[in-house]
């Protein structure tokens, strides 16, 4: 394997490794625009030029393979001059409209100019005029004057989505990125274009002008939009909350994970998280009488729920429906607490998937983040708990129900079930947002959204992945884990730790599929459950 030296540091790399990759491993940042690890190498921006001992011309680090004994300089005078020149060229026709540009703060023209440029302008010519606001599709708008023609976006539509909407037209300094005539972006991964654009040329129509990026903080998380479980970053703004009408999360972005989502996420997930701060969030426990909600204190709510559920459990008249939108820890806690109470059938229900609503890239038809985990933890694979519950309610075998997180109205089977549920004597709903299911309940307990707590989901591959808390719970919402623990305490059952990490440790110690896993070993990118422990289900 080749051993090379970069700026005096030596490293051994696998054959085929480029200088840029080797440098990254050494912590040496070689500036680049057109290179993106998820795309074919274009080698055209010329920003990553480096000097190699014995080679007369500067070479591009993104394409040149490391060879044994190679000596590379990334900071020599020649290299610095070449970088300054490329930056100067890129800025010749750049409008320099940073004050009104949404990319400001995460723009690589700004960043590299401060790091490698800092040259006075020699441009005395008029700048070329191009299209400023070209709407390319539902989510993306293009400013051709800011574009540096790195072709990342074009390659993305060619290689990742394979939808071929974008091209570079004309040649020389008349070159522009655009959609093909009569086309517009049609793919379900458009949001990634704004992510990969290193400058302010492609911006996100939903996100732009909502906040300056330097007010944002980041939390690592998992997209709950489908069973893929794309790794994401939640960008949240708690420093200038008043700027966005109280909404703290202006955007989520993909976080690279080679096992799950590479560098991407779909638009359904990216733009589908509005519910976490929707106006329909349940902000306090509610007691419903004749459909009219009345706010009650948490202590009262726990006392009521404890009494109703406890009584029904004793009389064997309790039906429980968990949700594959709950975290592993919550499903485990619910199973543990309710089984300790003597409830036999603790099951979950997943809305039936829409056939065909998936692709071979990321999108999965199962729109729940934790169906696999629910299956592993409850130990009941494919039983239709909703139908059984409806049947039991109709026959009078059950008169009290406890339902987590569902919005039954979204599925046909759920809509039918809802009619029966309305007739239950007591109906406790644990959820985040108001919906027709919550409205049918007699007691509503507000719990936190995924952005307000930590936990883990198990994706369709059986990969257990952590998500971290970004913001404080909305209103009086509490984590489902703590709600279940308080109920347990009211029944005299020893509660689980309120801390998700410890609850997970308990799960791992009891469930063989999760054996050996802990929050520490899961890390940022998750780990796979022991597939052989899966109860009677064929893999993904």
């Amino acid at each position: 394997m080749p051993i090379l030296t970069i700026d005096g540091k030596t490293i051994e790399v696998e054959k085929g490794t480029t200088i840029l990759q080797a440098a990254q491993r050494l912590g040496i940042d070689i500036p680049h625009y057109c290179y993106h690890p998820g795309l074919r190498i274009a080698g055209s921006c010329r920003m990553c030029l480096v000097e190699i001992q014995g080679v007369p011309k500067l070479q591009i680090a993104c394409y040149t393979e490391a060879t044994d004994g190679m000596v590379v300089f990334t900071q020599s005078e020649k290299v610095q001059q070449a970088r300054r020149a490329v930056l100067e060229f890129l800025l010749v026709d750049h409008p320099l409209d940073c004050p009104v540009c949404d990319q400001a703060g995460e723009c690589y023209l700004q960043i590299y100019y401060m790091q490698h440029g800092l040259h006075p302008s020699r441009v005395r010519e008029d700048k070329l005029k191009r299209a400023k606001v070209r709407v390319l599709g539902e989510h993306i708008v293009l400013d051709q004057e800011r574009c540096i023609l790195c072709s990342r976006c074009v390659r993305f539509t060619e290689e990742v989505t394979r939808t071929f909407e974008l091209g570079i037209f004309n040649r020389g300094d008349r070159s522009v990125v655009d959609v093909y005539p009569g086309e517009q972006l049609r793919n379900r991964y458009q949001g990634n274009l704004a992510d990969i654009c290193p400058v302010g040329a492609l911006t996100d129509r939903q996100f732009r002008f909502r906040t300056r990026v330097w007010y944002l903080d980041q939390a690592k998380s998992i997209c709950p939009g489908c069973s893929r479980g794309c790794n994401i970053v939640v960008d949240f703004n708690v420093r200038r909350g008043y700027k966005a009408g109280g909404r703290r999360i202006p955007r989520i972005r993909p976080r690279p994970n080679p096992w799950v989502n590479q560098y991407w996420m779909c638009d359904d997930g990216r733009y589908g998280f509005g519910w976490v701060e929707g106006l329909d969030r349940i902000l306090s426990p509610k007691l419903l009488e004749n459909g009219h909600p009345r706010e009650i204190p948490w202590a009262e709510a726990i006392r009521l729920a404890g009494a109703w559920i406890g009584e029904a459990a004793r009389e064997k008249k309790l039906g429980v429906l968990l949700s594959p939108r709950m975290s592993n820890e919550e499903i485990y806690a619910a199973s543990y607490v309710l089984r300790s109470l003597g409830v036999g059938n603790v099951g979950y229900w997943a809305e039936p998937a829409t056939p065909g609503d998936e692709d071979d890239l990321l999108i999965k038809a199962d729109k729940n983040p934790n169906t696999y985990g629910a299956r592993l933890i409850t130990g009941v694979p494919q039983e239709d708990h909703l139908a059984r519950m409806v049947e039991a309610l109709s026959s009078g075998a059950v008169d009290t129900v406890l339902i987590f997180l569902h919005n039954l109205e979204q599925a046909r089977a759920g809509r039918a079930a809802l009619e029966t549920l309305r007739r239950a004597k007591r109906f406790v709903f644990v959820g985040t947002n108001w919906n027709r299911t919550a409205a049918a309940a007699s007691l509503v307990l507000p719990v936190t959204a995924f952005t307000e707590q930590e936990g883990t989901f198990t994706n369709f591959q059986g990969r257990v992945q952590r998500f971290w808390q970004a913001v404080e719970p909305m209103g009086q919402a509490r984590s489902a884990l703590s709600v279940l623990n308080e109920l347990a305490a009211s029944w005299g059952i020893p509660p689980l730790p309120d801390n998700a990490a410890e609850a997970f440790a308990r799960l791992a110690s009891e469930n063989r599929a999760f054996a050996g896993l802990s929050y520490e070993t899961l890390g940022d990118q998750g780990q796979t459950v022991r597939a052989s422990e899966e109860p009677g289900v064929v893999g993904p």
Partner: protein
């Protein structure tokens, strides 16, 4: 040495473009000899010994290029003829294709046999309408005689030749841009390596050779590598066809041995500078090669000698300028060309060519500013050697050499917005 007649020997013969005339004058003997007596390796060896170099501009040793094609491969191999003659000042390939298209076809056959290719593409400059007709006619004649097709000359060796028209982009003369264009894509040069010899047209091993280069191959086979090599210098074998244009008495193409000096070419072949004028400057190898002053032309027109003189032999396009030439206008014309033809892929070339053009236009409009000449030079220097293909260099080198050698004229334009020479012969902007 000076003028020779090798490829151009038949140019004066009536009907030299016809198969029968070509064959009557010794044509298609080389390929028969090759098919009968030569192994592919022997052909490559012969071409190597002839010291034939790529006459499209880069001057890469032809035999060496052929030897890079992998022997053991399951993929088809291709011969691609670069007939996209686009370097300003160059018009030799056009004459070859007009006068002796069968000479080119014979060269293609030998090259194809040498690398084991059964398909050849001629990528012809789209504007070359008459050469296209001549080539189509010649290819049809060759197929009719069985010189192309399933079994060429009855040897059992299959070879098909396809004519493909370019669409008018200078960049498609760069071999990898040419291949992209041939494949139906936008003519953007590829990153190298891999070189076309391993991954060329349609992902298969390919050699790309200039029309003139291939046209010398039958003569080398016929008369021997030693004869060809002896015509030239130590590292550049044989002869080449110069396209001499500009302020000379007899502009045109002249086939000369490689050791012929520029002075001999201009004064002996082309009849010297036009009446009553004196030589001012020479661009020796097409518009991208650095300019030479009048006192710098005692240099052989072979690749190494011109490189040593700080210029390039390039495509052999000798552009001669007399003392009426405004060097600012001459350069502005060149700069406009490269700004128009840059493919736009690499940052330095895309922006640099256009920026140079705008600066020169501004100076031409009388809005020059102090520092402009230095900026022209350093912008060009920032483009040099920093791009995927040599177009960036091609655009930068004339700017740097013109400014180095005729700086006073540029300063005068910046100060006065023009010069006396410009008044003599105004140059059309753009």
């Amino acid at each position: 040495m000076a003028q020779v007649k090798i490829i151009t020997e038949l140019f004066e013969v009536e009907g030299s473009h016809r198969l029968d005339v070509y064959e009557r004058h010794g044509g298609y003997q080389a390929i028969r000899k090759v098919l009968a007596d030569y192994s592919p390796e022997a052909v490559i060896e012969e071409v190597k010994r002839s010291r034939l170099r790529g006459l499209g501009g880069a001057g890469f040793p032809t035999g060496l290029k052929w030897s890079f094609v992998p022997k053991q491969t399951t993929k088809p191999k291709y011969v691609v003829v670069n007939a996209d003659e686009g370097e300003p000042g160059t018009f030799k390939d056009r004459y070859i294709m007009m006068n002796v298209p069968h000479n080119l076809l014979e060269g293609i056959m030998i090259a194809a046999y040498a690398i084991g290719a059964h398909t050849a593409f001629i990528y012809l400059r789209g504007e070359y309408v008459r050469p296209r007709r001549r080539l189509e006619q010649a290819i049809a004649e060759a197929y009719a005689k069985g010189y192309l097709g399933e079994s060429i000359f009855g040897s059992g060796y299959r070879l098909d030749v396809w004519l493909h028209l370019g669409a008018g982009a200078y960049i498609c003369g760069e071999e990898t841009a040419l291949l992209e264009s041939l494949e139906g894509k936008k003519g953007w040069p590829r990153l190298k390596p891999p070189f076309p010899a391993s991954v060329g047209a349609f992902g298969c091993p390919t050699i790309v050779n200039n029309v003139e280069t291939l046209s010398y191959v039958p003569h080398i086979i016929r008369r021997g590598a030693e004869w060809f090599a002896s015509l030239g210098t130590e590292r550049s074998g044989g002869a080449r066809i110069l396209s001499i244009s500009g302020h000379v008495q007899r502009p045109g193409i002249y086939e000369v041995s490689m050791d012929t000096t520029l002075r001999e070419a201009i004064f002996d072949c082309a009849g010297g500078i036009r009446e009553g004028r004196s030589l001012k400057a020479v661009i020796p190898g097409g518009s991208s090669s650095p300019v030479l002053r009048a006192n710098e032309i005692d240099v052989p027109c072979c690749f190494d000698a011109l490189a040593a003189a700080g210029s390039m032999a390039g495509s052999g396009a000798v552009i001669v300028m007399d003392d009426t030439t405004c060097m600012f206008d001459a350069l502005r014309n060149i700069v406009h060309f490269y700004a128009h033809e840059s493919c736009g892929q690499c940052t330095p070339c895309r922006v640099g060519t256009g920026w140079l053009r705008r600066i020169m236009d501004r100076i031409a409009e009388g809005r020059g500013m102090p520092g402009d000449v230095d900026n022209l030079y350093s912008i060009a220097a920032d483009m040099l050697g920093r791009t995927i293909c040599p177009l960036g260099d091609a655009a930068a080198m004339p700017v740097m050499s013109f400014v180095e050698k005729f700086r006073d004229e540029f300063e005068e334009h910046v100060r006065h917005g023009g010069c006396d020479l410009q008044a003599v012969r105004p140059v059309r902007a753009s």
